[in-house]
């Protein structure tokens, strides 16, 4: 039997192959021409990865180069529960939880419940300490892995927290330097487009496009870690001893307004911001105001001296009280001192004397000098969330305000404003803008902050006269507890009442403060100590002065300042 193929069948077969060839050729031609781009795009997507490259947040250092804040990559532990199976395919949630729970300090049932929650992928714990991560990694548990995440670390713990601020979980700086300089510290993320193999490794051959990340700037602060530590240690101690509601300490370099230390109580640990109370986040040195009380008398006397309406030896007859605007304003304890000169007004902190000086000066001039010393407006310090205090416009002053403001009631200030004003008295009469960042280092090099002289407030002569008077206040006057062995100290105490919501003053509760500088001649630092509601009440200035004394002793010793007195 001979097999034959009919011609018709052969023609059909040929035609089929011919048509098929044509269709395939046309399709091939389409993908090589019109559809080429789409095909290329699909192929590229399979192997290319487009990643944002995180910028390294800048380092913050103190004036000596000690690290105050820095960022490192820490390992975050994640789990893929579906991979937690034994050889028989059974879940190993319980054994995995039991293995890692003691290392994480967590209860095993909590971890087991998380693994069994149905999530495909979950973070078990983020940003683990390095030793903890290493111990878990050594277990080589299937279904657990690590991912690097940046973590802001503060090696000095809570020291400097109010100045530094913190970085939240979204990587944004909050409060302090972190908040104020967030843009500079954060830098700019880069971009990396590379071809990757199936194992997710970058291929040396293939497309590679990269825009380098610009790391954040490093900041060097004017803060001195040793002085900052002393300020915080002493503030915490005095607040505890006095059972005070809070307190603040500001230390400035009077020569240029550089902030050496800022302490605020209550405070917080930047590593545990989540557990901090809202009140603890407020920097009382710049975001809290109070009536300054008698520390303001130095400003009143400075204004009157500068205008030439009084001299240190100008006298008046003190009868214990002064009447102004139909109101009677009295000395503490209603004491009368008789014939008194202006130096004694400061040395004894006489309210009636301050009213006398203010009367010589006049409301317009006092108001002008109060503003010139920087009260009623923000100092402009380079920290986040500063408040300006309240000095009512002159048009809103009642006649009695001339008297009350002369001894620090009826206006509110921040501790930093007061320190800044005392710095102007100490340095010869120039008000400087306080600043915290001494220099910023970026890719172009170091950019130093130039101190800003805001204005001349009083003359050199007025400054010198007032320094002598404030030195007498410490040497022989009410602020004698602030006297330091071997050093001249100039300063003034302040006890202020606390306004209540109904416009009156709170009974039997005070804000005690001391503002001073040392050495009185050629001063190295201005220190303001403020205590809110100390249990010593009217005697609260004594613990404030003792705190000043301890801090000044430490800071002068640390700075190797030569004594200026035998």
């Amino acid at each position: 039997m001979t097999a034959t193929i009919s011609h018709r069948r052969l023609r059909v077969l040929f035609a089929f192959f011919a048509v098929a060839s044509l269709v395939l050729s046309a399709r091939l031609a389409y993908w090589q021409t019109v559809g080429r781009g789409e095909l290329l795009s699909r192929a590229t997507d399979q192997v290319h990865s487009d990643l944002a490259v995180a910028a390294q947040r800048g380092i913050i250092k103190d004036r000596s180069g000690a690290i105050l804040a820095t960022t490192v990559e820490l390992r975050s532990l994640y789990a893929i529960p579906a991979q937690m199976k034994d050889r028989d395919g059974n879940d190993t949630f319980a054994s995995v939880a039991a293995a890692i729970a003691p290392i994480l300090g967590e209860r095993p049932e909590v971890l087991r419940a998380a693994f069994a929650s149905g999530a495909e992928w979950l973070f078990v714990r983020r940003r683990l300490p390095e030793d903890v991560a290493a111990r878990i990694a050594a277990l080589h548990i299937k279904g657990l892995g690590f991912e690097m995440e940046p973590k802001r670390l503060y090696p000095n713990g809570a020291v400097g927290a109010q100045v530094l601020g913190f970085v939240n979980d979204d990587g944004l700086g909050q409060y302090g330097v972190e908040g104020r300089y967030d843009d500079e510290l954060a830098g700019t993320p880069g971009r990396l487009v590379v071809a990757r193999d199936p194992a997710n490794r970058e291929l040396a051959l293939g497309l590679r496009a990269a825009v380098a990340a610009r790391n954040g700037d490093d900041l060097s602060l004017t803060i001195d870690l040793a002085v900052q530590n002393a300020a915080e240690r002493e503030l915490a101690a005095v607040v505890e001893r006095e059972k005070a509601a809070g307190g603040a300490i500001v230390i400035l370099d009077p020569k240029d307004g550089a902030v050496l230390a800022i302490a605020s109580s209550p405070t917080y640990d930047p590593a545990r911001v989540g557990s901090a109370k809202a009140e603890a986040l407020r920097d009382r040195a710049i975001s809290w105001t109070y009536e300054p009380g008698s520390t303001m008398k130095a400003i009143t006397v400075a204004a009157a001296l500068d205008k030439g309406v009084i001299t240190p030896s100008t006298t008046y007859e003190d009868r214990g009280c002064a009447t102004i605007g139909g109101r009677t304003l009295c000395n503490a304890g209603f004491r009368s001192y008789g014939q008194t000169n202006v130096t004694q007004i400061l040395a004894r902190s006489q309210n009636a004397g301050a009213v006398f000086v203010a009367g010589k000066l006049g409301a317009a001039e006092l108001n002008a000098y109060v503003h010139a010393f920087g009260f009623g407006e923000r100092t402009g310090v380079d920290l986040a969330v500063e408040t300006g205090g309240i000095v009512r416009p002159l048009a809103e002053w009642y006649p009695v305000d001339l008297g009350t403001i002369s001894f620090g009631q009826g206006l509110s200030v921040t501790p930093l404003q007061l320190a800044s004003a005392y710095a102007a008295i100490a340095n010869g009469g120039t008000l400087y803008r306080p600043y915290v960042v001494a220099s910023r280092r970026d890719a172009d090099g170091e950019h130093r902050t130039a101190p800003v002289a805001v204005r001349r407030v009083i003359s050199q002569e007025t400054s010198a006269t007032l320094v002598t008077m404030l030195t007498a206040t410490v040497d022989i006057g009410i602020a004698n507890a602030a006297a330091l062995k071997g050093f001249s100290v100039a300063g003034k105490t302040g006890t202020a009442q606390i306004p209540s919501d109904d416009g009156r003053y709170v009974d039997d509760a005070y804000i005690s403060s001391f503002a001073g500088f040392v050495p009185a001649i050629d001063p190295r630092m201005v220190v303001v100590v403020v205590l809110e509601r100390p249990q010593s009440k009217l005697l609260g200035t004594v613990p404030a002065m003792n705190t000043f004394k301890t801090i000044a002793t430490d800071a002068l010793r640390y700075a190797r300042v030569q004594p200026d007195r035998p």
Binding site: A66, I67, T70, V72, E73, E130, L153, P155, N156, G157, V159, R201, E202, L203, A204, L205, L225, A226, N229, A230, E232, R233, R557, Q562, P563
Partner: protein, 99 residues
């Protein structure tokens, strides 16, 4: 005879071309493989460098933590050390005069 010689030459030429092409392709593949391998190696070194930098950063932080005045004070207290009541200072002028 002339015809056979032409055929042999053609065969040799074709063979040479094919072998040359093969060798060229082999050379290209060898180079591409070497570049890829070097790329992987470079990537491994980069990862190693990054990890060493990270470990270094952690050590710097640990050093800063140990240098912290608050920690040093706490440690001094633990050891029973007390702050010196006074520190004797010799004026620099006196030292200079004595030289």
């Amino acid at each position: 005879m002339h015809g056979a010689s032409w055929e042999i030459r053609s065969f040799l030429l074709a063979t040479s071309v094919i072998v040359s092409c093969f060798l060229l392709v082999l050379l290209y593949l060898a180079q591409a493989t070497a570049v890829s391998a070097a790329g992987y190696e470079a990537q491994r070194f980069a990862a190693e460098r990054d990890e060493l930098r990270r470990q270094n950063a952690l050590l710097v932080i640990e050093s800063a933590r140990l240098d912290s005045p608050a920690r040093v004070e706490a440690e001094a207290q633990r050891l029973g050390l007390v702050r010196a009541a006074t520190i004797g200072l010799i004026p620099s002028e006196a030292v200079a005069a004595a030289r």
